[in-house]
């Protein structure tokens, strides 16, 4: 039977190839979308429970006083507090997007046990005011090496004399989990602060966000309440969120992008389903005469049904396998292309398996329709259709 199926597929090489291609394309697209969604959400799902993020209760764009760092640290359950200032600078060109944050070198490392230094040393970074520490993703993408000076044009904090900020790469990190991305630049907040005070840079003083690392045995909910309560009476009220919640806020800033990605994926699948169905219905129609001959010879209805079902399955799974192969081939390239936006882009076995299952479902449903009509048509009716 398999031979008959393969011969039937080969009899219409172009049609089979086109259907297979569209399946391959759909599966490839689906894998990429799926991996992107998982990547976007992985920051949320892998968020640390013992890190809290503190921002102004008014808005993310209203800075908090610097003195809050010591106050936060004094709250029961908080082990360390660290400034986290979004810098929003541009490296050479706007299309080279990556995040930069001003942080406290003396508490940052304690807040992020995920941080693994792979080149240079954290101490060197802490000792150099103009030093910075970059993710290995940035080192790969832009070829930054230890000792390099990275010029960054300030947008929120433009230098008064014009020109770029200059940061020296002192260390390269690799995140141990996806709670942290591998494409961020961290620099010493003090460098920014001194420049602001000296009038070398424009921009607001203060700190956008504080990070609080809790004691291992602290209860995050209690600590959140305690921090919010501490600043209840000003000078500025704060809003404390868990890291997962903070990540979700970030995701929601993307608006409905994840939902849209999912919708696009669904629409593509739907279209492919009809393409496969169309192919299989055409195959079923032109196979009518053969169905009559087979049945007259004594082949059962189940046999003619299976020939069409198997044909559809072969078409779909072969297409899916090709698409999967392509998406795995593209994985590396996409990883660096998405580096600034998606923390961990990976065609996981879960994604691969999922798309194969969907291809099999499509193949089954698209094969059942012509298979059933072939099984149901009476032998003499089928024989009366001329090839």
């Amino acid at each position: 039977m398999l031979r008959l199926v393969l011969r039937n597929l080969l009899a219409h090489k172009t049609r089979s190839a086109l259907t297979m291609c569209s399946m391959a394309f759909a599966v490839c697209l689906m894998c990429i979308l799926q991996a992107s969604l998982i990547g976007l959400e992985s920051a949320v799902t892998n968020a640390a429970v013992n890190r809290l993020w503190i921002q102004s209760a008014v808005s993310l764009f209203v800075p908090l006083p610097m003195s809050y760092e010591a106050k936060i640290e004094s709250v029961a359950g908080v082990e360390h507090a660290c400034k986290f200032q979004w810098f929003g600078g541009i490296y050479q060109d706007e299309s080279n997007f990556f995040a930069q944050f001003g942080i406290d070198p003396d508490s940052f490392q304690d807040c992020y046990p995920e941080l693994e230094i792979v080149e240079g040393s954290y101490e060197a970074f802490a000792q150099n005011r103009r030093g910075c520490i970059i993710g290995e993703g940035l080192a790969e993408k832009y070829g930054f090496a230890l000792g390099d000076t990275v010029p960054i044009i300030g947008t929120i904090f433009p230098r008064t004399g014009g020109g770029a900020w200059e940061f020296v790469v002192e260390a390269i990190y690799r995140p141990r989990t996806t709670a942290m991305d591998r494409v961020t630049m961290y620099f010493d907040f003090a460098y920014l602060e001194e420049a602001l005070r000296a009038g070398d840079s424009r921009g607001a003083q203060g700190v956008g966000v504080f990070l609080a690392k809790l004691d291992d045995d602290a209860d995050p909910t209690e600590a959140m309440g305690a921090i919010d309560g501490f600043f209840e009476n000003g000078p500025q009220r704060v809003q404390t969120t868990t890291e997962a919640e903070f990540g979700r806020q970030f995701l929601s800033m993307l608006g409905n992008v994840p939902a849209m990605l999912a919708a696009v994926g669904g629409a593509v699948l739907f279209a492919i389903f009809f393409a496969v169905l169309n192919t299989m219905l055409a195959a079923g129609r032109e196979r009518m005469r053969a169905v009559g001959i087979l049945k007259a010879m004594g082949f059962r209805n189940g046999f003619v049904f299976s020939t069409l079902l198997v044909e559809s399955l072969v078409l779909c799974t072969a297409g899916a396998a090709i698409g999967l192969g392509i998406s795995i081939g593209l994985e590396g390239g996409l990883q660096s292309a998405f580096a600034g936006m998606i923390q961990s882009f990976e065609i996981s076995s879960q994604v691969a398996l999922g798309s194969l299952v969907i291809a099999i479902v499509i193949g089954t449903v698209a094969g059942i329709a012509p298979g059933r009509s072939a099984a149901r048509v009476s032998t003499i009716q089928a024989l009366r259709t001329q090839a």
């Binding site: 009899a11 007259a296 010879m297 004594g298 059962r300 009476s378 032998t379 003499i380 024989l383 001329q386």
Partner: protein, 237 residues
């Protein structure tokens, strides 16, 4: 085995078409002895294919009895009929017979898949059948690479591959030129004489009917006449 391969009694078959009833067979009786070679003639639309379908167990009569190869076909379920066809009947259909995507040998091998034969045995048997119809050279050709006459001979090879008792051939020479037709008819005659196959062949061609032992005329839903062809009647000799 009964002496008569085919016995039809009072067979009726009508079709509904656009609310109109078309009585194709109107109380038809036919007896065919085992080992006979009948030619079935009649105008187009007279019900020749309909009759063949009933005898081959592809269709059921509205009324009447159909006994073929010792079996009352009305008593068989669809599944049993399929098995019965595989065991007893070889078909040569009107028009295209072969699956275009398979080679000649694969086409002949196809019905053998319904048997427990091994792959090698199926192949050997298909090759024997093709040898019998004189197409050993053309085994690996696709139908599109064969002439009309060769195609029909492959169809006959497929019909006899399962070693059936009965061969039903619907206008096997309809699309062939004289020489090719003669070859096919010789072949059928040979199967009848040498292998004892009972054959019912539809034809429009009186010259083709000459090869049969009996000629049956179908018109207006009944069998008009049965004439014997003395020099071809083997069983009565």
């Amino acid at each position: 085995m009964t002496e008569n391969q085919i016995e039809l009694r009072g067979v009726r078959r009508s079709y509904e078409r656009g609310g109109e009833r078309l009585d194709v067979l109107q109380g038809l009786d036919l007896t065919m002895a085992t080992g006979s070679f009948h030619a079935l003639m009649g105008p187009s639309g007279s019900g020749k294919t309909t009759l063949l379908n009933l005898i081959g167990g592809l269709d059921q009569p509205d009324a009447g009895e159909v006994f073929v190869c010792g079996e009352d076909l009305a008593r068989l379920s669809n599944q049993e009929l399929a098995q019965w066809r595989a065991d007893h009947v070889g078909f040569v259909f009107q028009g295209f017979n072969l699956l275009p995507v398979l080679t000649a040998r694969e086409n002949v091998e196809l019905p053998l898949q319904l048997t427990p034969l091994s792959r090698a045995d199926r192949r050997a048997q298909a090759e024997r059948a093709l040898e019998l119809v004189g197409l050993t050279e053309r085994m690996t050709h696709k139908p599109s690479e064969l002439s009309g006459g060769q195609e029909q001979r492959v169809a006959i090879a497929r019909a006899i591959a399962m070693d059936p008792d009965l061969i039903l051939a619907d206008e096997p020479t309809g699309d062939l030129d004289r020489a090719a037709a003669e070859q096919v008819l010789e072949l059928l005659g040979q199967l009848n004489r040498e292998l004892g196959k009972t054959i019912l062949m539809v034809t429009h061609d009186p010259a083709a009917a000459e090869h049969a032992s009996h000629v049956v005329h179908l018109d207006k839903g009944r069998l008009e006449s049965i004439t014997k062809n003395p020099e071809r009647v083997r069983s009565e000799a």
